[in-house]
């Protein structure tokens, strides 16, 4: 911290600390986010909310169907090139499905090496998810060395795979279950649909800066 900043801090703190701000009554108001009576309802809501937000949701009964449905998607969308991380739950299956069908790159060096490709020459990137939130139809990603942040951001299409068992009712519950207050990775990102904007005359348009397409593959059985 520079001297100027340290001095600014001292002055600000002095002004704030001179005040005795009373704390409010401890028990006013409450917030109970949406809860599901059963896992089925939870799953239905998750898929419905994502669909409402313009994401494409594909349900498959088990993991054996994953490569098949990826191959179908690749053909349907005519993907030319894909980018994967170096690990994650589905890495092998992603590779198996796509390797002979399109140009497949793996994010094994630093971002700077792939920047240009990610910006201009990647049709799709694929990742897993850390969790899902049914209340709002949300994917929770904790990017890592195996699945970097930019995989869910730069390509025009992002495919995310999630197990139904990873989906919880609401955000607060997820934080509590996973003990987020103990510390967080450098980046956690909640994604609830493709990138969008209504900045021009309140008209909704997709693909503002992030992916214009979000495809979520839900594996319903284990």
């Amino acid at each position: 911290m520079s001297n100027a900043s340290a001095l600014a801090k001292a002055n600000i703190m002095q002004r704030l600390s001179a005040v005795s701000a009373l704390s409010p009554k401890p028990s006013a108001g409450s917030h109970q986010a949406w809860q599901s009576p059963s896992h089925e309802v939870c799953l239905t809501r998750f898929k419905q909310q994502l669909t409402n937000a313009h994401a494409e949701v594909i349900s498959i009964p088990n993991v054996e169907q994953l490569t098949g449905s990826l191959i179908e998607l690749a053909e349907l969308h005519q993907w030319q090139s894909a980018m994967l991380g170096t690990g994650g739950d589905w890495h092998q299956l992603f590779t198996q499905a796509l390797t002979s069908r399109l140009k497949l790159s793996v994010f094994e060096q630093n971002f700077e090496q792939y920047k240009s490709d990610l910006f201009n020459n990647t049709s799709v990137s694929l990742t897993g998810c850390d969790a899902g939130i049914a209340d709002t139809g949300t994917l929770v990603l904790k990017p890592s060395a195996e699945e970097p942040r930019s995989l869910s951001l730069l390509a025009p299409c992002h495919v995310a795979v999630i197990n139904a068992s990873q989906i919880v009712d609401n955000f607060a519950l997820l934080m509590a279950q996973q003990q987020w207050h103990q510390g967080l990775p450098s980046n956690v990102v909640l994604i609830s649909g493709p990138s969008k904007t209504a900045d021009i005359q309140q008209t909704l348009a997709y693909g503002a800066h992030g992916p214009s397409e979000l495809i979520v593959i839900v594996i319903e059985g284990e």
Binding site: S5, L22, S23, A28, S186, I200
Partner: protein, 480 residues
């Protein structure tokens, strides 16, 4: 680039100009109707809303009550996470601090995510004067920057423009733009132009929606993905925020986030919620190498010092108060001449700029209460306005410290008129004589009566005063 300049002190003139602009009024009317409906639909259960508002208000008040401790804790935890924390007391310090950070890293090209605090410190202007390019990447902000204007709304910066106006602007500024009124194509045009900027940028500057003390985490709320681009692609990320944005616990975030997006645009959640707890950590392969957090006071501690005005700092910048304000809807955002327009602007700007500049703003309200009714954290905006009106005219009461520009709008003639009135009211004989005189002379009061009769008819006085009528009644009663 010189930005068209509106000033808070010129509110009256700017408001009349905006009122005369039919296109502008139509654009705002349409936008406000849209946003009001979206909000209403998002809160279908009134009880839930009432409980959630109380809860959100309570969280914000608790966090403010511990503000100094939470700021210390935030700084410690950010630093433990590798986020460098800096402090600035005012606009000038913040400008300089940020410019230094950029120049130390050899930065020349900056992309900005949406951030009202950097508007508040006129950062673009400052950086450009140092030869640093600074591009707004939020679609609305980008449009506003091309037009050399400032945002007219805190959530939807280009809300004052319709698609024709945007298309005309693109035609003028973007090479090879094929004229179109398709919003999809306009957005794609903006996307392409800005992707190049992201690719080249060596610095990303963003705001912060919630800074979590407990974990040293910066939370950013957005739909477009430009905030994520800004905080992911360039090697240096600088987040700038007001000192009031800190929350104590991570568990404070879900309720505030939920009521923020629903109040702002009626969305149950935004597309992205980006939680940053540090720069790229080895062996990670992407993310900025450096993350800095700049904490700005700029008058906030003045509001903090006062038990009543402190409530101003509960604000989570949802924009609902402006969306529901009959004044904002008619005059639009620019007329206010402040970074934050509308009701929230009227109560926060006096602390940022002083009452001298902003004394007209606090009077620009019918006190209808719509803002308070929709505010997700229950800020009593109308009563704060009344308090600020008082402070603009009168010296501070004993035991309460003066605000910047306290009593600057005091008027000698107004003061004397009230004193005369007070004297008159406490001298009944003279008072009755005076009212009788007014009644006899009423018919000679000229038309027009200045501003009063410009849009109202001249008030008709009763032929007898209330006292005369009562007296007559009493007489009649006695004679019966």
């Amino acid at each position: 680039m010189s930005v068209q300049h509106y000033q808070a002190s010129q509110f009256k003139r700017q408001a009349s100009e905006s009122l005369a602009d039919q296109q502008l009024r139509q654009n705002f009317r349409g936008a406000m109707d849209y946003l009001q409906k979206k909000r209403k639909d998002a809160f279908s259960d009134e009880d839930e809303l009432a409980q959630l508002r109380l809860h959100a208000e309570n969280i914000r008040q608790r966090c403010l009550s511990k503000l100094p401790q939470l700021l210390e804790q935030l700084e410690q935890n950010c630093q433990a996470n590798g986020i460098q924390v800096h402090w600035a007391e005012d606009t000038r310090q913040a400008q300089q601090l940020i410019a230094d950070l950029i120049q130390q890293a050899g930065g020349k090209k900056v992309v900005k995510g949406k951030s009202m605090v950097t508007e508040e410190i006129e950062l673009n202007h400052h950086l450009e004067s140092l030869g640093i390019e600074c591009v707004e990447s939020d679609m609305g902000e980008y449009i506003v920057q091309l037009a050399e204007e400032t945002p007219s709304h805190i959530i939807m910066p280009a809300i004052h423009k319709n698609k024709q106006q945007v298309a005309d602007l693109f035609l003028e500024h973007i090479k090879d733009f094929n004229y179109t009124l398709s919003v999809d194509k306009l957005i794609q045009t903006g996307r392409e132009a800005l992707r190049n900027k992201f690719k080249q940028a060596d610095v990303g500057i963003s705001g912060v929606n919630f800074a979590v003390a407990e974990t040293g985490t910066l939370c950013l709320v957005e739909n477009e993905g430009n905030g994520r681009m800004t905080t992911t692609v360039p090697p240096l990320h600088i987040a700038v925020t007001g000192i009031e944005k800190v929350v104590e616990h991570l568990s404070d975030v879900p309720p505030l986030f939920s009521i923020l997006t629903r109040s702002a645009t009626g969305q149950h959640i935004t597309t992205y919620f980006n939680m940053i707890s540090g720069p790229r950590r080895s062996p990670e392969r992407d993310g900025p190498q450096q993350v800095h957090l700049v904490l700005l006071d700029n008058g906030r501690s003045q509001a903090y010092a006062d038990d009543v005005l402190r409530k101003t700092l509960q604000c989570i910048r949802c924009g609902a108060c402006m969306n529901h304000c009959p004044v904002y809807t008619r005059v639009g955002g620019h007329a206010y001449g402040t970074t934050y327009p509308g009701p929230i602007g009227k109560i926060i700007s006096p602390h940022l700029q002083g009452l001298e500049q902003t004394s007209d703003l606090v009077t620009a309200s019918s006190l209808c209460g719509a803002c308070e009714e929709v505010c997700p954290v229950n800020i009593p905006i109308p009563s704060l306005l009344q308090r600020l009106r008082h402070d603009a005219k009168m010296p501070a009461e004993s035991g309460i410290s003066s605000l910047k520009g306290q009593a600057s709008a005091a008027s000698f003639s107004e003061h004397n008129a009230w004193r005369f009135w007070a004297w008159l009211s406490t001298h009944p004989k003279i008072y009755h004589l005076a009212t009788r005189m007014v009644l006899t002379l009423a018919r000679y009061i000229p038309l027009p009566m200045g501003a009063w009769t410009r849009c109202r008819s001249k008030p008709e006085l009763a032929s007898q005063s209330f006292h005369q009528q009562m007296k007559q009644r009493a007489n009649k009663g006695a004679s019966l």
